[in-house]
Assembly symmetry: C2
């Protein structure tokens, strides 16, 4: 049986902690889906989705790159939220899920098996690492540190660049670290990209989940970046529309025109009905602020409780809805994940999936439980269980 | 701006004939979507889709590889319709659209930029050609001929094979030729694949649109093929659920296990609500037979009328819902497509998109018009317009 051995390099955690939970006692803090079972969407969003189907639309192919109504709504959102003016005919790609938008954006910049290198800040979103592996490119990891609040050090980034570097991947807010990059950090990355003629792929899936009134900057708005940025947006994470599979990419006309054909060829048109739920969500996006209030309470609660555990350290996240918890003095990522299922009946994610610096960490989603009370029970159970472990020096 | 120049090789027709139609007089015979505006789905299918959304499901992430209910239904369909027994846990991949299933299946077998070769029967489905190009592999075209009813000649296939050949792509029924491969042809392909240790990717998107009670054989059921076939199935074409974006692949456990991770990484989970419309469609699949009766009438009508035009030749298609019409004695593909829009106000597809042997042909979809009467008007307008052209020798 002949197949490309690159595929064997894909990694996905083989232990699914939530599947090992006691159905009566277990609490799942793994999934990144804010929907299940907690947050409710505004009625307008659910109704928009229903109406499309009741009216007999949505079962047909959509326009190749999405309907005009969706383009208009995204154009408005990009202008108002991101400060990006977009010619939707030329600079906007609609994709069936942002995962594909991200994959394709990276792949546009990479020629497989030529020795191309891709820079990821480490720890990083696990799928970036896999995407690069299967393209036959090399992951180059630029370490980021909790003592810098996971911002990027310019001198470290410079050291990662070789003549084979093609693209820098920026996940903002960062997953799993919860960093929101400052304007200063992004400008530094932009300057380095311009200096070395590199592309930047910027994934903004959690862009609306930012706390403390922190400034949020879209990479493509920075000087010199319009022609070298592929800016990837989703609707699963911040809007919570994960079942609909709709994302979009803003980029230079030349690349977007090729990406439209590639998308049509590789995944086909967008899910037709989904477009109208997304339009309604963007027109009613104040619901996200309400969700954020809830996430913010949990963010502070988890931060407080976890840091009281001897040997455990975590930062207060700036964005997203997850704690990135250093547990290396208690055990390995996998050991702690398994231990927490058994001892506390709580499922969390192992950090080893998120890059070379991910080992010794766990990721705890605080978007997930049905109520703040359940979240509190979960986080206290985690803390109690971890307190029983020996702290290594 | 750095990007992989392979992407420039993608081809998509730059002239969209249906966009040039007079809105009042024009008739569109381009789209492959049987839905717009002709065939109606059974109420059960539409209702199943609505119910999922009304019940508040469908907005969340589905199970990574699809829900258990979908697996059961597909398992039953594969057994009853295709004669394939499948362990859905190990041998079934659900994808967001069969286009991605097809892309990924080919890509599994190819190591990019290594000189790998992929055999396509020519003319072939246009997206196969694009898929192979962007992988940095080489399209090798094995010509098929109308005098053979577009079946494959074993000696021609053997001549295409080199030490770099990795995979043979079979689209069955064939698009654009409408061929349904005989058991004899498929067994010949299977024997050659086994002899040279090649993979076969078999795309069966039109498998339920087969006429005259012709035998339909699924590649994976042939001796020796279970371990070397990736069999791709869709729901857009035969089931007419093009807006839902749901396809699936049956293959060897080892490849499917990697393809699950790749799919999760590259496009994410399946559209959640779509699964339940697909289940209902598979449970009520007799509606396809009714659609086929309509397509069959048009197939015979188009065949009869087109062959009366001097210089025009087409075969009676065995499957799918399109005429593949040789017009090379009247002009080039692009000339005739433009001429038919202007002269007859009918949009058809150019053949030059479908491989080296596609030039000099047009593809006419007979699934599309609202009624048989409109189809008759369209095909007569085409015939009248073509009769005005000079026949070259």
């Amino acid at each position: 049986m002949q197949y490309d051995k690159h595929w064997e390099e894909l990694y996905f955690p083989d232990f699914s902690p939530y599947q090992s939970l006691d159905p009566k006692k277990g609490i799942n803090l793994v999934s990144a889906d804010p929907f299940a079972p907690d947050c409710e969407l505004p009625e307008a969003v659910v109704k928009a989705y229903q109406d499309v189907i009741v009216e007999g639309r949505g079962l047909h192919y959509a326009e190749g790159n999405g309907d005009a109504a969706l383009h208009q709504t995204i154009q408005k959102k990009l202008k108002e939220f991101n400060g990006i003016e977009v010619d939707t005919e030329k600079e906007l790609l609609i994709t069936a899920g942002s995962a594909f938008g991200l994959y394709l954006s990276i792949r546009m910049c990479i020629c497989p098996n030529r020795g191309d290198e891709v820079i990821n800040f480490d720890p990083t979103f696990a799928e970036n690492i896999n995407d690069v592996k299967v393209m036959g490119a090399k992951n180059v990891f630029c370490s980021v540190y909790p003592e810098d609040d996971f911002q990027v050090r310019g001198e470290n980034l410079e050291k990662c660049i070789t003549e084979n570097t093609r693209v820098i991947i920026v996940t903002n807010p960062g997953n799993p670290t919860g960093v929101v990059y400052t304007r200063e950090t992004l400008e530094m990355i932009a300057q380095i990209a311009c200096k070395h003629d590199l592309m930047v792929v910027c994934d903004q899936c959690f862009e609306r989940n930012v706390y403390d009134g922190r400034e949020y900057v879209s990479m493509v708005t920075l000087p010199g970046m319009r022609e070298r940025t592929l800016n990837v947006f989703g609707t699963s994470k911040d809007y919570g529309l994960s079942g609909l599979r709709l994302g979009y990419v803003v980029g230079p006309e030349k690349l977007i025109s090729m990406m439209k054909i590639a998308t049509s060829n590789m995944v086909g048109t967008v899910p037709a009905a989904a477009q109208y739920a997304v339009i309604a969500a963007m027109e009613n996006s104040e619901y996200i602020e309400k969700w954020n209030e809830r996430f913010d309470r949990r963010r502070k609660l988890g931060y407080e409780i976890l840091n009281q555990v001897p040997g455990v350290v975590c930062k207060l996240p700036h964005g997203g809805y997850f704690h990135w918890v250093d547990i290396h003095r208690l055990g390995s990522s996998q050991e702690i994940v398994k231990y927490l299922v058994e001892e506390a009946q709580v499922a969390v994610g192992g950090g080893h999936w998120f890059g070379e610096n991910g080992e010794g960490h766990i990721r705890i989603m605080y978007c997930r439980p049905k109520s703040d009370e359940i979240y509190k029970i979960a986080i206290e159970r985690i803390a109690e269980a971890l307190k029983k472990l020996k702290v290594n020096e």
